[in-house]
């Protein structure tokens, strides 16, 4: 009997200690976070535009955090591999990842059954870059406006070839969206890199190029390429001569966004700390200047707003997919 009481006392005592220690340690985590290097997972290879942005961000974040920020490239499966690693990482705040919208939110339904993560496993932190989609033709092309392009496709659908960067990617979705809006059939050709596609456009091997603003801004400003439309709400400063799709009567919005996310289980204090660091970096004029020089349009969306942004985009694309899947199943 006595032994039993003692046992119970021990049990209560140890439980209390556990709670106390546990509580202290969460406090401690928020207070001296971070106390070791942080990993930043990039789901694409070294040297690409996502990677370049990550490495520049890491440089500024290190100053704010006082810890090394190590960029870890985990390319594979069009980004899925990196996001699986992000979703499965320990939710202690020492693993951050870059997510690329809209690709990150379409895999859960386009790859249903085989996909290795769900959007609920990832908690978006802050969007940094929004690179609007652009439909462009070569400068010597007969098409001056979106209207004349659409008419040409209606008259002779076989004469027009449009490039995009891989099926199911943001460019492909943008072009599909436009084709649906204009009620035309486009002949798509997939190009894996923007360099090859630009060369093909300038060489006259393809009619039009669906890509992102940052990829053709130099060629547009040099007058080698003509932007027919930019798929954004308003005109973009760097290419102010290019009208939006809306101005020309096609209500199409498309962009590639890059932002940060953490595994879903990260505690609120750590999440807040990372959010404030991101805010500091994004508001740093030097960081902004470097992004501007790389033609990466900064468009910060923080915290809950970004979470909503990703989920809204997911719901919109899911509805489109349910209506008419763009990859045959």
């Amino acid at each position: 009997m006595k032994a039993n009481i003692k046992f119970k006392q021990k049990l209560i005592l140890s439980a209390m200690t556990a709670i106390l220690v546990g509580g202290l340690s969460t406090l401690a985590v928020a207070k001296d976070f971070p106390n070791k290097p942080i990993q930043l997972i990039v789901a694409f290879g070294a040297g690409g535009s996502t990677d370049t942005m990550a490495r520049i961000f890491a440089k500024y974040a290190e100053e704010e955090l006082g810890q090394r920020v190590v960029v870890v490239n985990r390319p594979g499966a069009g980004g899925e591999l990196g996001w699986v690693h992000l979703a499965n990482a320990a939710p202690d705040g020492y693993t951050l990842g870059l997510i690329n919208s809209p690709v990150v939110e379409v895999y859960p339904f386009t790859r249903e059954g085989s996909v290795g993560y769900s959007l609920d496993d990832i908690r978006p932190l802050a969007n940094i870059i929004t690179d609007p989609g652009v439909l462009a033709v070569a400068a010597n092309s007969p098409y001056q406006t979106l209207e004349s392009f659409v008419t040409a496709v209606q008259e002779n659908p076989r004469s027009v070839v449009v490039s995009h960067e891989g099926i199911g990617g943001d460019d492909h979705l943008a072009a599909l969206n436009f084709a649906k809006e204009a009620d035309i059939d486009l002949n798509f050709v997939s190009y894996s890199g923007n360099a090859e596609a630009t060369a093909a456009l300038l060489g006259g091997h393809i009619t039009a190029f669906q890509g992102n603003m940052s990829e053709v801004v130099n060629q547009i400003n040099e007058g080698k390429v003509r932007g027919l439309a930019v798929w954004s709400n308003e005109r973009i400063d760097a290419i102010s001569q290019v009208p939006t799709g809306k101005e020309q009567g096609y209500d199409v919005l498309a962009a590639a966004s890059r932002g940060f996310a953490v595994p879903a289980g990260v505690s609120q204090p750590v999440y807040d700390k990372l959010l404030s660091v991101t805010r500091e970096v994004v508001e740093n004029p030097e960081f902004l200047a470097e992004m501007a020089q790389l033609n990466m349009p900064v468009n910060p969306i923080y915290g809950q707003d970004y979470v909503d942004f990703i989920h809204e985009s997911h719901d919109r694309l899911k509805a489109l997919w349910d209506q008419e899947p763009w990859i045959e199943q």
């Binding site: 990993q39 090394r68 190590v70 960029v71 870890v72 045959e328």
Partner: protein, 148 residues
């Protein structure tokens, strides 16, 4: 085993594999299957050629030095051990143990020499990859598992 026997066995196996590739390729949607079908057929034809050649060949093959199976097995075990240790106890320890064991067993080096080589080479790798190139090498799941 003489080379032409190996060849004929291999061609049967790889030929079957190529046939499988062609079969799967024919079932693929759209034009996705064209390339696998071409590649598989090419492989099938090459297998046919090698197979016919190996049956026709009368003169004996030049003799090859036999594989030292004992050493081969030992070496394979070392390599598998390296990977297993990398995943479980971490890269640095794995490298030292792997180098020590393989140098001692396979190269007739005495253990002090092997130890010095193993430790210094592993340190070099660690400095170059972890510190200079900032590659997070596997640190071993065992420690995490023990900590929990």
């Amino acid at each position: 085993m003489p080379l032409n026997k190996i060849d004929s066995t291999l061609t049967v196996l790889i030929g079957a594999l190529c046939a499988g590739v062609v079969w799967i390729g024919l079932g693929m949607r759209g034009d996705a299957g064209i390339f696998p079908v071409i590649a598989g057929s090419l492989g099938g034809l090459a297998c046919l050629g090698i197979g016919i050649n190996s049956f026709r060949r009368k003169r004996p093959d030049e003799s090859q030095p036999p594989i030292a199976w004992q050493r081969f097995t030992l070496w394979c075990l070392c390599v598998l051990g390296l990977l297993g240790l990398m995943i479980s106890v971490g890269t640095f320890v794995a490298l030292v143990i792997f180098l020590l064991v393989s140098l001692c067993c396979l190269s007739d080096l005495r253990w002090p020499a092997a130890l010095i080589l193993a430790v210094s080479f592993s340190s070099l790798i660690y400095v170059v990859f972890v510190h200079l190139l900032a590659v997070p090498l596997p640190s071993g799941g065992l420690w995490n598992w023990l900590a929990n």
